[in-house]
């Protein structure tokens, strides 16, 4: 009797039940995540972390109304959370990294739960969660550690999609409230990352309107749902637009809301300006086959990347043609018609590649391989939708998530630039949400491959027939490719973080900052430009780091928020100081000063064994 009681308690303990339910996912996910992300324990803050971490403290003291206004701006919630984290963690780096990876894991778990629940197939959820967890694409959100609030994006996106689907499964007032509130909350918390959520949800509503049989009983509540969602999505837009309009003028507002002229973008697309369309496929390529996976021309015993591109173009054409014929054999005429796009794509790319001047060879390979595979994957998803609506719908949502969230970077930067905001780097933070889409797509493909093998093995008993059937071979190769991609993501991410962990100068910078900071805290006039000269027994690398760190710490904050921070120019060059003091022609341009130089706004410091000596008089002499 007692024994059975204990057994019952153990069996129904929530934690145990949770572990039992998700054992397979956790058993795979936890070790892979630990392997991929353990280098974070050695990583220091990067320069941009230093810049951003001070930022909330320059907003909050300027008064609560200003802060409340700031909270509704695109980065408001992110900086508020950063400020909160800074209250708890201070300048200790490890807690930030642990919080970041923890939120990343929670995001992956949310994707696993959503994909499993929606498709009723655990394998799709497991693959999707694993891919999102270790993906190198969009790694900047972890590497640039203070970006951790970005991971609320995937969590909130999954939650809003879950409640939206729940409403359509069982439309009633309770599910309506949940769907609208969660979608609104998601958009409010992280609309800078999940900016296309309204498009996805409205697209879903349109889909429901066309393909689902809506009984007259639920027509009213569904219309109410659409109206409420429209209001909740467009209200923040209208408010932020009005605030911008009132605080700035019309031209600035127009500039904020359009990054590249839409009419010019459309013209360049219709004229066939090559970089425009292929930049979109570059973003797609970064998701499907990141350039880091390309080992270089030498490994193939080929002299140039052009040879690799020629061979790969041929391979892609053969792959697309095989897909086309496979569809024809299976009498899937619509799929075979649409796969003509996949056959033409590598040919068109091959003829155009010379016009894509700015792109590195590895990126060109991403465009070619990633683009072709993505077209084939999209056709496959549409094909699956014909047979299995649940999985098909999930696939369509995944494709919508990818395409809608890539449209903005595409419209912003039709060609890559050497700019930190450019999405030309696959590690860029903008890829956080599209990675969810591609993770789910890989999950669906793996699931379909397993089903294909299973069906065939059940109908054919001969081992030779089982192994050498073309569809079977295709399915096995797909499983191998997906496993390869997953391991590559994990390995490349691990190596990238390892390379980042080799810098360790933050402790020293902290010490220096402690010395320099009081010098500025005592000065009240913050609009005047100041010049700081420093010297000491420092190596060239030390000087660079100090200059970079200090400049970001003070002058960049000053640039971003002129109310609270100082604008300070650092230099360790005696020549520059000499020409400034003697007011030589062009001396102000050497440091980029915009105000006349005055000795009152000048500091000269010498570092000696972490001691700071004022050498202003000595230098002036």
């Amino acid at each position: 009797m007692e024994l059975s009681k204990i057994k019952t308690r153990l069996t129904f303990h929530p934690l145990l039940r949770f572990l039992k339910k998700h054992f397979l996912f956790l058993a795979l996910f936890v070790p892979i995540m630990i392997y991929t992300f353990y280098p974070i324990i050695k990583i220091d803050f990067m320069d941009w972390d230093w810049l951003e971490i001070e930022y909330p403290y320059h907003i909050i003291p300027s008064g609560m109304p200003h802060f409340m206004f700031y909270l509704v701006t695109p980065y408001g919630t992110a900086y508020a959370l950063l400020g909160l984290a800074h209250l708890f963690f201070g300048s200790e780096m490890l807690p930030y990294y642990i919080l970041n990876v923890f939120l990343r894991a929670v995001g992956a778990f949310a994707i696993y739960l959503l994909a499993t629940w929606w498709s009723k197939k655990k394998i799709i959820g497991i693959v999707a969660g694993l891919f999102f967890g270790v993906s190198i694409t969009g790694i900047e959100n972890t590497n640039w550690v203070i970006q951790f609030p970005a991971y609320l994006g995937p969590i909130m996106l999954c939650l809003s999609l879950y409640f939206w689907k729940k409403f359509h499964d069982t439309p009633n007032k309770d599910s309506l409230k949940k769907s609208v509130i969660i979608s609104g909350l998601a958009f409010f918390i992280s609309h800078i990352r999940i900016y296309a959520l309204p498009l996805i949800i409205m697209g879903g509503e349109f889909y429901q309107y066309i393909f689902s049989k809506i009984s007259k009983k639920y027509l009213g509540i569904r219309n109410q749902h659409i109206k409420l969602l429209l209001a909740i999505f467009f209200l923040p837009f209208v408010i932020s637009y009005l605030i911008l309009l009132l605080t700035h003028n019309l031209i600035v507002t127009a500039n904020v809301f359009s990054v590249t002229s839409p009419s010019i973008l459309l013209q360049s697309l219709t004229n066939g300006y090559p970089p425009t369309i292929f930049t979109f496929f570059m973003f797609i390529g970064f998701l499907v086959f990141p350039p880091f996976f390309y080992p270089g021309a030498a490994i193939f015993h080929l002299t140039t990347t052009e040879d690799v591109l020629t061979i790969l173009s041929l391979v892609m054409i053969v792959l697309s043609l095989s897909f086309l014929f496979f569809c024809l054999i299976k009498r899937q005429y619509l799929a075979s018609i649409s796969s003509i796009i996949a056959v033409i794509y590598p040919i068109s790319f091959y003829l155009t590649q010379n016009k894509l001047e700015n792109l590195e060879p590895a990126i060109l390979i991403s465009i070619l391989v990633g683009g072709t595979i993505f077209i084939l994957l999209s056709i496959t998803i549409c094909h699956i939708w014909n047979y299995n609506r649940q999985i098909g719908e999930l696939g369509l949502i995944a494709l919508t998530v990818i395409i809608t969230h890539l449209l903005l970077p595409w419209a912003s930067f039709p060609i890559p630039q050497n700019n930190i905001q450019s999405a030309a780097d696959p590690r860029n933070r903008y890829y956080l949400i599209p990675v969810i889409g591609i993770s789910i797509v890989w999950g669906i493909v793996l699931n379909s491959s397993l089903i294909l093998i299973n069906n065939y093995w059940q109908t054919h008993r001969s081992i030779i027939k089982r192994i050498f059937f073309p569809g079977n071979l295709l399915a096995i190769s797909l499983i191998i490719i997906i496993t390869y991609l997953l391991s590559m993501h994990s390995w490349v991410t691990h190596n990238y973080l390892m390379s980042r962990s080799s810098y360790s100068y933050n402790e020293r910078l902290n010490e220096l900052w402690k010395i320099v900071k009081p010098k500025f805290e005592s000065i009240e006039d913050k609009k005047t430009e100041r010049v700081v000269y420093f010297e000491g027994n420092l190596s060239a690398k030390d000087i660079n780091i100090i200059e970079y760190y200090m400049r970001h710490k003070l002058s960049e904050i000053g640039f971003r928020n002129p109310y609270k921070a100082h604008t300070v120019f650092f230099t360790s060059s005696k020549k520059v100081i000499y020409s400034l003091i003697h007011q030589e022609p062009g001396s102000l341009a050497l440091l980029g000063l915009s105000q006349p130089f005055s000795l009152d706004n000048f500091l000269a410091l010498r570092f000696e064994k972490n001691m700071l000596i004022d050498i202003k008089k000595e230098i002036i002499k």
């Binding site: 700035h248 003028n249 019309l250 031209i251 600035v252 127009a254 500039n255 359009s258 990054v259 590249t260 002229s261 009419s263 010019i264 973008l265 013209q267 360049s268 697309l269 219709t270 004229n271 066939g272 300006y273 090559p274 970089p275 425009t276 369309i277 292929f278 619509l334 018609i337 649409s338 003509i340 796009i341 033409i344 794509y345 068109s348 003829l351 155009t352 016009k355 001047e357 700015n358 930067f413 039709p414 060609i415 630039q417 050497n418 007011q583 030589e584 022609p585 062009g586 001396s587 102000l588 341009a589 915009s594 105000q595 006349p596 130089f597």
Partner: protein, 195 residues
Amino acid sequence: MIKINRLLFLIVKKLRTRSTLVLLLTLIFLRFIVKPSIPTIPSLKDKFFVCNLYDTNTWHSDSIFFKHFKSILIKPRKVSFEADFDKSFGEVEFSCKTLIPVSKLYPAKTLNVEIKSNQKIDININLRIKGGGIPFNYLTYNLKGDPDNLVFLLDQKNNPKINWLRDDFDEILFTVKNFNMNEELILEISNIYLQ
């Protein structure tokens, strides 16, 4: 003729909605994918003149480098500036307010400035969208010497045109530097146009 009509009718009847949609989408995608291999490069038919050389009010300088700045119309198409500036900045800035529509910039290949200088100079030209006191700088060129006609390529490898064509531009900023400041600098700008 009747037979063709009958055939077309049969084809349309045979095509179900989904098939039509797939065909249509396939054709649209193919159009956008194939077009870059045979692109249509737009060009500006006539010269598009910018900056008003008849009106001194359109020429000004917000720069704090200047202690004194005044533009004078000597005769039509000839504007003169009188300026006294802080030498320690080592450069001179002035600008003209002019509307440069983005639709003209897109087909234009070059920005041409017919200019004469009595000294060797470095000149930067920035096309700007100015609003709310925030200037958006897009183009910076450095040319040495004193040629009569400076030709600035708009579509540059490291700064492709399509990336900065966000809206109509409304100002051209000239920055002149690396000249002998102890001597008088005479700049004669006679024409500025897109081509």
